[in-house]
């Protein structure tokens, strides 16, 4: 990389020299053959400025200083002796700029210069010297003496020897340097600048020489003042350096008259340029080559650098450059402002310097290199104490690392304190017992007396989901605590391991908390109920008396003893006061008891029992029919009971849980079922009221709807009794008495209500009695049909949808029995009795056959002039009637068939005609009509196709 035509030198070579392989570095071999010629490659043009700085006026001398001039050496002393007068002004002004002692460590640049850190450290360390920057000159001997102590590496004698040697070669070196500079510049500079620079270099060189001479003189002078002066000098330099480090980013400023300033500025530009062009490698090489040549000069110029304690070595030359750059900038600013006469150079100098400013980039590089090499050379000199330096370096590095680490730790601690400021501010405000208290409150909201009911819909949904997934359906997602509390856990969640785990943890936690709470409750004992009494202070006895007299004596503790899962804590539980209702029904206790005994045997001889029941109106206790409100209240109670029973069934203990528990459970269950039975008022005599209380309960839609849920808990006997009562009072049902409304065509709210009730009856009440009828024997059916016929308006019943459905049900059941598909074969007497009953029924219905059809009945409401208007969906309404007639036809004799056909001929023909003539809206209606007709005709052994129009 002989960039400038000089001999290429490797970095390694330079480093080897610096590292003190040749210990006798104090011996300088200028011009000799073994001279490595480093100095030849030196680009001296900027060193001229250095010369100017140090040589021309002694005052300016060496206080350009990038390093800490703490070392007590004579050069320093000599220089400071010269500078002490003129330095005063600028440096005291610089104090104003410095306020802090910043530490700038561009560590990122460090790596580039790692290998060469030894010499660059010198430059840097000066800037890094802490403290004392704010102190006025000479006013802090303590600090300066501190610096002296720090710099105790080299003895004064050593320095003296070096100084002497360097002084001998100073002139020679200066000349050589000048030559090299010129040569270098020729290659590098543009021709326009050449002349100016030559002049400038010449001047600079002269100044340099002058300075050397002066220094030599001063060297032998004023030994007594040496110490004090040096201190002052150091202080001032430190101040400057610290100030400069705080300056804003580099920028090109107007020309300064100070040679020292110029040098700094140039160096700054150079640095930038170098960094941009990435010429560091090349520069290093050059520096090494020049190093040996320039040793003496550097020695002279940078005595203060060498005095820097080795343990304060900085990281790299780039770092040093950067700091020097800042230093320079600040100084520049200072110069601009102060325009100190002392800072102004001689009259001959300013012009060339200013002219050269625009071309600084090239010029400055050289100067910069020179400066760097000065430091390097000084470092090499220190290699005399190579081992010591090495050790020091290690110490320094260790210290640096330590410092870094400390800084980092401090920073982290600071950040952490900021980060946790808000959090830590409220840390530990709550004690553990506070937290526990809050948790208890939260959990107490979750725990309920009846977790299953609270979570009812989720539980049912979960059960459905589980059954769909094929899992066991009896796994309730309820967390139970003993017998009286629990937490509903909702529907099971699918998949995922986290949720179940969290759920388990929560279960355990809650269980623990609840058990603790219960324990505490038990400790409180009986007082727990009144634990809050007097919590707000005692009220005076006076206020008790002053309070208005309580009119309503409400005991909140009244709860059905047999429904433990429903306590008064639930909002509606007080409605379930079965006791009081039981009391009211006890009015007819005697009657009920007697009637109950009779109805127990109803299964065997239904009609006789029922007859006796009907006839037993001798000691009947007449009652007013239930009012609407009584019905509703009773139904609410019934709902409560049903829920209790259903819950009890879910809580059914396993057989292995023990005999007593099972017994207790069945006792509770039976008790609840008994209450329901009583509440239904089925056992009241038939003639108690009209309608019968049981029928009244069925008048409400919710009464109809609850019946299946009630009856499923009743045994066969009770169901038989209930069915008997229902049939016996069938015409009292609202769905029968109001059925006529359904035949009207206008859409009134009342009709809609009846429709609703009818649907509810068909789906709920008939569903609940269906199993009994389906399983009933012929005698039972016969008895029930007899009940339906006797004393009731069979026509009205037959003209209602529920009645017709019931009749169809009976006939179908008889047909099934007749087919012999039952276990119990009916006796001949039963058949005879049934035949009697059927004939009677048929006889009753015969005149009304056409009117059984809703379509026929509706037609009567139609305007006379258009009797054949089509009512939408009328055929589906007629369908149950056709079904009934078909069932009737199956049972009927041939004579009865004749009657049926003759009665229904018109209706059949009408339908067939409509279907075949196309008097229908669509194909579906036609199909329905024909299907309806065929349903009936098939029972007779006929078919609609046989009918010819």
């Amino acid at each position: 990389m002989s960039f400038f035509g000089f001999e290429e030198r490797t970095l390694e070579r330079g480093r080897d020299r610096r590292l003190g392989q040749n210990e006798d570095l104090a011996v300088y071999t200028w011009g000799e053959e073994n001279h490595d010629g480093l100095g030849d490659a030196l680009q001296e043009d900027h060193d001229d400025l250095n010369d100017e700085t140090f040589g021309e006026v002694g005052e300016v001398g060496k206080d350009f200083d990038f390093s800490n001039p703490t070392l007590l050496d004579r050069n320093d002393y000599a220089r400071s002796a010269n500078t002490r007068v003129e330095d005063k002004h600028p440096q005291s002004c610089m104090i104003a700029f410095s306020s802090l002692n910043p530490i700038s460590t561009p560590l990122t640049l460090e790596s580039i210069w790692d290998d060469k850190s030894l010499f660059s450290m010198r430059l840097n360390s000066a800037n890094r010297t802490p403290s004392s920057s704010l102190l006025p000159r000479g006013e802090s001997p303590a600090i300066s003496s501190q610096h002296r102590q720090q710099s105790g590496i080299r003895t004064v004698q050593e320095i003296e020897a070096e100084m002497r040697a360097s002084a001998d070669h100073s002139r020679q070196e200066a000349l050589l340097q000048h030559r090299q500079q010129q040569y270098y510049l020729e290659q590098r500079m543009q021709q326009q600048q050449q002349k100016q620079r030559d002049e400038e270099e010449l001047l600079l060189r002269q100044e340099e020489e002058r300075e050397f001479q002066r220094q030599r003189l001063l060297f032998q002078q004023e030994q007594a003042q040496l110490q004090r002066l040096q201190q002052q000098q150091q202080l001032l330099q430190q101040r400057e350096q610290h100030q400069h480090r705080r300056t804003p980013p580099p920028r090109m400023l107007p020309v300064s008259q100070s040679p020292r300033f110029m040098e700094h500025q140039q160096r700054q530009i150079l640095i930038l340029q170098q960094q941009q062009e990435q010429q560091q490698l090349f520069r290093l090489q050059q520096l090494q080559e020049q190093l040996r040549v320039e040793e003496l000069e550097r020695q002279l110029r940078s005595q203060h650098i060498s005095s820097v304690p080795p343990d304060r070595q900085p990281s790299g030359p780039t770092l040093a450059d950067m700091e020097a750059l800042q230093h320079q900038q600040l100084q520049q600013q200072f110069r601009q402002r102060s325009q100190s006469p002392a800072a102004r150079p001689g009259p001959h100098r300013p012009a060339p310097l200013e002219n050269s400013i625009p071309y600084l980039p090239q010029n400055l590089q050289l100067q910069q290199r020179l400066l760097s090499e000065m430091a390097q050379a000084e470092l090499l000199r220190e290699m005399q104490e190579g081992l010591q330096v090495e050790a020091m370096r290690k110490i320094l590095e260790a210290e640096k690392m330590e410092e870094k680490r400390r800084k980092k730790a401090a920073k982290i601690a600071h950040m952490a304190s900021l980060f946790f400021f808000w959090i830590s501010r409220y840390n530990d405000l709550m004690t553990q017992s506070d937290k526990d208290f809050i948790t208890r409150i939260q959990v107490s909201q979750l725990v309920s007396q009846d977790p299953y009911a609270d979570d009812f819909y989720a539980q049912v949904y979960g059960a459905i989901v589980r059954s769909r997934m094929g899992l066991s359906a009896d796994d309730e997602r309820v967390l139970k605590f003993g017998s009286s509390g629990g937490v509903a856990l909702g529907a099971p969640t699918k998949g995922g391991n986290r949720r179940p785990n969290a759920m388990q943890r929560m279960q355990q936690q809650v269980e623990r908390i609840v058990s603790n709470a219960r324990k505490r409750e038990e400790e409180k004992g009986l007082h727990s109920l009144h634990s809050l009494q007097g919590a707000l202070g005692k009220t005076s006895g006076r206020s008790y008396k002053a309070a208005p007299r309580q009119l309503l004596q409400v005991d909140p503790n009244i709860a059905p003893s047999s429904s433990p899962t429903l306590s008064h804590a639930q909002p509606h539980a007080h409605i379930s006061k079965v006791d009081s209702i039981t009391k009211s029904s006890n009015v007819a206790a005697a009657n009920a008891a007697r009637m109950g005994r009779e109805t127990l045997n109803i299964g065997d001889n239904a009609s006789s029992q029922l007859n006796s029941k009907l006839l037993s109106s001798g000691d009947l206790v007449y009652m007013e029919p239930l009012t609407q409100r009584e019905i509703l209240v009773t139904l609410e109670n019934m709902y409560d009971l049903v829920l209790s029973v259903e819950q009890l069934r879910r809580d059914q203990p396993h057989p292995e849980e023990g005999e007593e528990i099972l017994e207790q459970w069945s006792k509770d269950f039976d008790s609840l079922v008994d209450q329901m039975w009583t509440l239904l008022k089925v056992m009241l005599p038939l003639a108690t009221s009209t309608p019968h209380p049981f029928i009244s309960l069925l008048s409400a839609a919710k009464g109809k709807k609850i019946l299946p849920r009630v009856t499923r808990h009743f045994d066969q006997q009770r169901m038989n009794t209930l069915l008997t009562l229902l049939i016996a009072c069938f015409s009292q049902l609202d769905v029968i008495s109001h059925a006529a409304l359904l035949d009207t065509l206008e859409d009134t709210p009342k009709r809609a209500d009846v429709e609703r009730q009818t649907q509810a009856f068909l789906s709920s009440v008939l569903q609940s009695i269906l199993p009994i009828i389906v399983k009933g024997n012929l005698r039972l059916v016969c008895g029930l049909v007899g009940l339906l016929i006797h004393g009731q308006d069979i026509i009205a019943i037959a003209q209602s949808r529920p009645g017709l459905a019931l009749l169809t049900l009976f006939l179908t059941r008889v047909e099934v029995i007749k087919q012999g598909e039952v276990d119990e074969i009916p006796t001949q007497d039963d058949f005879a009795q049934w035949q009697l009953m059927f004939d009677h029924l048929f006889q009753l219905l015969t005149p009304e056959f056409p009117l059984l059809f809703p379509s026929t009945r509706m037609a009567t409401h139609l305007p006379r002039d258009q009797p054949h208007i089509n009512i939408p969906g009328i055929d589906s309404l007629d369908q149950p009637v056709w079904q009934f007639l078909a069932a009737l036809a199956l049972q009927a004799s041939s004579t009865q068939h004749q009657i049926l056909v003759s009665s229904l001929r018109e209706k059949v023909l009408d339908n067939v005609l409509s279907a075949k003539k196309g008097w229908v809206v669509d194909e579906e209606e036609r199909t329905t009509k024909l299907a309806n007709v065929d349903l009936f005709l098939h029972a007779l052994g006929l078919d609609s196709s046989q009918i010819t129009m």
């Binding site: 409400v554 409605i575 609407q628 509703l632 209240v633 709210p749």
Partner: protein, 92 residues
């Protein structure tokens, strides 16, 4: 039957009795409605089905007249803050 035996202990019990029954509800803003009560809560929020709402509209003018608008809804949630009165429908 006295109050306790009829299970009436608080006003809401009366409403409870009307569950799944048709009720008449008077509302703010000159509105009335009848419907089958399915659910209610402590705020008197109601869920009704088969609702017929009657809105009285007062026509401002020289002679203030009241016109009635009606509409029907299958299912309705009534916010409780508008409810003035809930009663069983008058039985004729």
């Amino acid at each position: 039957m006295d109050g306790s035996s009829s299970g009436i202990q608080e006003p809401f019990d009366l409403i409870r009795l009307s569950l799944s029954e048709r009720v008449f509800v008077k509302l703010r803003g000159d509105r009335e409605m009848t419907g089958i009560l399915h659910a209610y809560d402590g705020h008197m929020n109601l869920i009704l089905s088969d609702v017929e709402e009657t809105i009285m509209i007062v026509n401002e003018g020289e002679q203030a007249t009241v016109s009635v608008a009606k509409r029907k809804m299958d299912m309705l949630f009534v916010r409780g803050d508008g409810v003035i009165l809930v009663s069983p429908p008058s039985r004729t």
